[in-house]
């Protein structure tokens, strides 16, 4: 799990052998699981319980969201390539893959923005019904996580551009990667639960 690269910046010994920041990131991600878990639980509890429309099957465009999910998952690959680049001291590769990851994240966010505005035009708002409240809150908080990730990636990219992300600071990229992969994994769960599992919503219309 712990990659000891040559020339690690701070050879501070820790009791577990894990860097403080890495342990912090793992603890945070564990905690964030409970956060998304509670949001998803809320969504599941209210699935098919909306009294009025629009219902999920009326607004969802599965092929469209599948493409956007594919884009986000691809960004996990470029993230791995960015980490591999800094670990072997390839600064050009690092910059290219960091930027690619941030751009793919940006495309996903753009897709989400377009999806949200389309839904709102079709009458699905935060206030419309239980589906609207739970859908926008769950996917919105995921989008907020992606946004934070894109900001981190762009900050790393700018730092690398200015030559201040040398090989011995690979942990910065690794931590951003941990966060980024987590956000992707959460999207797999959300995409499955929200979009792919057929909601029995027609029943709720009564």
């Amino acid at each position: 799990m712990h990659v000891t690269a040559p020339g690690h910046a701070a050879p501070l010994e820790t009791s577990t052998g894990l860097d403080h920041r890495k342990l912090l990131m793992w603890a945070f991600l564990g905690s964030d699981c409970l956060f998304f878990g509670s949001l998803i639980a809320t969504y599941l509890l209210y699935r098919g319980k909306s009294i009025t429309g629009p219902y999920p099957h009326e607004v969802f465009n599965i092929p469209y969201t599948s493409v956007s999910a594919f884009v986000l998952l691809t960004s996990s690959l470029t993230m791995v390539l960015a980490l591999a680049a800094i670990q072997r001291g390839d600064q050009r590769g690092l910059k290219a893959w960091l930027l690619a990851t941030a751009l793919l994240g940006g495309v996903f966010l753009g897709g989400q923005y377009f999806e949200f505005t389309t839904f709102i035009r079709e009458g699905l708002t935060l206030r419309a019904n239980l589906f609207g409240s739970t859908f926008f809150t769950l996917t919105g908080f995921h989008g907020a996580h992606v946004t934070v990730g894109v900001i981190i990636l762009l900050s790393l990219f700018v730092t690398a551009l200015r030559g201040r992300l040398p090989r011995e600071r690979h942990l910065n990229v690794e931590l951003a990667g941990l966060y980024w992969h987590f956000v992707d994994v959460v999207w797999i769960v959300i995409f499955t639960v929200v979009y792919l599992v057929e909601a029995p919503n027609i029943v709720g219309a009564g």
Partner: protein, 626 residues
Amino acid sequence: MATVTGALPRVLRRPTSYTGWWSWVTTVDHKRIGVLYGFTAFAFLLVGGIEALTIRTQLAGSESALVSPELYNQLFTMHALTMIFLAVMPLSAAFFNLIIPLQIGARDVAFPRLNALSYWIFLFGGLLLNAGWLVGNSPDAGWFAYANLTSKTFSPERGLDFYALGLLVLGTSSMAAAFNFVVTILNMRAPGMTLMRMPVFTWMTLVTSFLLITAFPVITVGLIELAFDRLFGTNFFVTAKGANPLLWQHLFWVFGHPEVYILILPAMGIVSEVLPTFARKPLFGYPFVVLSGVSIGFMGWAVWSHHMFTVGLGPVANATFALTTMVIAVPTGVKIFNWIATLWGGSLSLKTPLLFALGFIVLFIIGGLSGVSHSSPPADSQQQDTYYIVAHLHYVLFGGSIFGLFAGIYYWFPKFSGRLLHEGLGKLNFWLMFIGMNLTFGPMHWLGLDGMPRRIYSYPAGMGWDFWNLMSTAGSYMLGIGFLAFAWNFVSSLRKGEKATSDPWDGRTLEWSIASPPPIYNFATIPTVHGRDAFWAQKYLETPGHQPRGVPSGGADGDGDGAHGQGAGHLGVHMPGLSYFPIIVALGLALAAVGLLTHVAVIALGVLIMLFGIYGWTFEPAEPDE
């Protein structure tokens, strides 16, 4: 490294003064942050105490009209919120900060600036939660704030907005602190201090921190849903749109029951330190005390619906949660037997810290037994929403948490002040609180079994409740005098108390091996640990002739001669530098929350300040440049 960081952008000049007001604002020293936590929590404790005394004065006799029903609702809600989130939890956090690095032989916590951030967010969150008093609308739906009483329809005033946003801000603070202590305890133990050699207080802090980082996200989601319903018109708890208000109860108690253990485990840890020291014996059954604490941490997740027995979840759910609730009493009982066995045959030194620890055991047993009595759903249906529950929860939270924390204050005060608290005043403090506590909350048992409901602002004459309510009110004033005695003792001892040596109680753990008060870097040489009760072993086992062996402290009474450990050589004594950024980030966060209640421009300003703070923080090296 210094060459790389030195070239990075600096937005603010680094603060350098270690004295004066600004040094407290910019401090990242765990001991100073602990002191800030302690004093702020005590101030909030007094506020919550005044609220409690007002409640008790109102209830002293039947048909009293001291406060209006509306104000009464705000008083009992704010009393609970203040005591839980602004007094007991931050007092525990004060001890985490003051003690943990010293007990594990570290120079500071893993993330000193994050630690300062936790404190400042706590302070601003506490003020935000209390801001309702300024506009005359404090939260008034109980600390559990059941939906859908909390909806805009039924609570149109501002009060519950302060509730939702105040607790969201405070939750950020608690989680940030907990992340810090998880990493600190797991990663910064002195060489040789394996997990099963850690002091029990350190263990209980670790368990509490894990509970915090897992339980708070759940209530965060609940509070977000509540805030969205109230501010943006979502439908999470709007029954007319098909919502199920039980969602809130589940989210609340899934958090709320681990929260109970978040409040009590630190006190249990303190008592597990105080008893062996004053019995002059090692803790009996250390692995059992530790593992029962860990299992309480796990099992605390499986009992939440016992708060909902009267909701109608059905016989299967009720029976399941009744069983898990009865089972969780087992590890608690294991702890109590181990504490008693620690005292057994010890040469007890009945100083004030031990008195409070003994008080803790007695009162916690009473509170625990009444707790088991409502693990049975039929019995609970009788007790639900009566004063019997109020009696139970105060025996565990006041008799438990507060007595444990007071044992800790009397125990560790000399370590940080260099002086002892006065024994005579301490004993007066203890007996006033012990008798006052039983007089206040004891009668509530029979008032509750006699049917007196909770959360009523008044009751008719002729119910037979007048006498015991009057006694209870008298007891609460006695408690108030007890707190004043403590405050007097604290202030006067701080100024002219008896000077304390570095090891006034003949302590067992590493914090007693360094000077009182400790130098800023705590340990000149990082100690090497060979077993449990590391300092006791150094004094009596590793040195023949029962002669306490001095340990290099580098502090005021640096009488050390034994050089051991070789940590300092390659670590050096580089302490983290002061920083403006924690308070800036906290201020931005609080402003953004206030903006949600006022104007979108304030949100934008808050977010901007926060981003500025985060960027400055990121590019500020942890250590000041030389």
